[in-house]
Symmetry: C2
Subunit: 237 residues, 2 copies
């Protein structure tokens, strides 16, 4: 690996978490590129939100505009063959008590991290930024801190590289993620992420609710609504 | 992960190494499935060799036939976007002194191992068998023993599983790989792998040489020819 020691690649889905990670990276690194994965996800609208978020952050601050580099979208259609996951099929989305939710694609973040590292290798970017989070309701094992630290070792051995994996949201809850956006870019960034990022599993962008667009009743909307309400209470206190 | 404790998934490309690994697994595990990756490789003929090798091994021994299970082929076309690798393009295949050869796709075996683990997870198979090898001429960092051991940890943490990664060829040279085939299935298995497996980067299957089909002059053929000749000398001694 050669190139900028302070270059970063953000795994950028267009959701609230990765949008906050993009701002976090723009505040820290000299060059910031983004990568997204197209795997026929049901909430494919998320991918379409990425341009609005990137453009919005560039418009927010001239120094961020100067740092924001290329966007990469990789075809991860291979995921469709890997599970009967509700995230990529018409099956009902459920999260039975004590079980992994049906949106589980085993090792999805390992796969995304590995593909992102291959892009970063080619682009000479040393830092990978992932919006994974242990405090999320879902308990995905591929979001855990142990997994990410083991992945960093495997990637660096397997690519003969010295990547650093950053997970700024690992121990932050959804309210804290909004507070991080406020700290990084003020009310304007909170508003940008609220309106332009997407979380709803149903891909609903017809009604703008307090927490942003969404159906309001799927697990992703419920989580986002609770987090935004908690952030508002904390910000008002 | 649930299912057979002694079930294995072999990463099976159709080359000499993975064919030997398939026989190695059939000699050890109660159920053996195979997985291949289609990424538009230049020597795509390799994929077509897989059925002949599977059928040949089943014909060789009835107990192996009873153990051989499903074959899976995954679309790994995402690799095409990850490098200018000669393995997937028309660029000339070179291996400059002291550099990684131009067939290098960064982290390819990390990606294949992760995809295979996702398949094994869904199929309830505990053992993954990979034909990677440190003694290969190429020095790919993703073939090294350290990489594979780190990958096992990352996979098990990321999928909340207890996979075991087996790499029976890790410290075996090409002559030793032929000797392993002889030990596992006698002269009949050596002959099956010699004729039905494919290594040639040029995809040449027109001339049957001493070492099998191939152009005879690409780096893969040269390596295979040297290994087969060395094995013959050792076997005759």
């Amino acid at each position: 690996m050669s190139g900028a020691e302070d270059g970063a690649l953000v795994l950028f889905s267009g959701g609230q978490d990765s949008a906050t990670c993009l701002a976090w990276a723009l505040a820290r690194f000299g060059r910031v590129e983004t990568v997204g994965f197209d795997y026929g996800q049901r909430h494919r609208i998320e991918l379409a939100c990425r341009a609005g978020l990137r453009d919005g952050m560039a418009a927010l601050r001239p120094d961020w505009a100067g740092r924001l580099g290329a966007d990469h979208v990789l075809d991860a259609g291979v995921l469709r063959g890997l599970s009967g996951s509700a995230l990529v099929s018409a099956a009902e989305i459920t999260a039975p008590e004590g079980q992994l939710p049906s949106t589980f694609v085993p090792g999805r973040n390992l796969l995304f991290g590995t593909l992102a590292a291959a892009v970063a290798y080619g682009r000479g970017l040393r830092h990978l930024v992932l919006g994974v989070c242990e405090t999320d309701y879902s308990g995905y094992p591929d979001c855990r801190d142990d997994t990410m630290k083991a992945l960093q070792v495997a990637l660096n051995l397997g690519m003969d590289a010295r990547f650093v994996l950053h997970t700024p949201l690992m121990f932050v809850d959804k309210a804290g993620t909004w507070a991080m956006a406020a700290a990084l870019g003020g009310a304007a960034l909170v508003e940008l992420i609220r309106v332009e990022s997407h979380s709803c599993y149903e891909g609903d962008r017809t009604v703008l609710r307090e927490f942003g667009y969404g159906c309001g009743s799927c697990p992703a909307c419920e989580l986002r609504a609770r987090g935004f309400a908690a952030y508002r209470r904390l910000a008002a206190a």
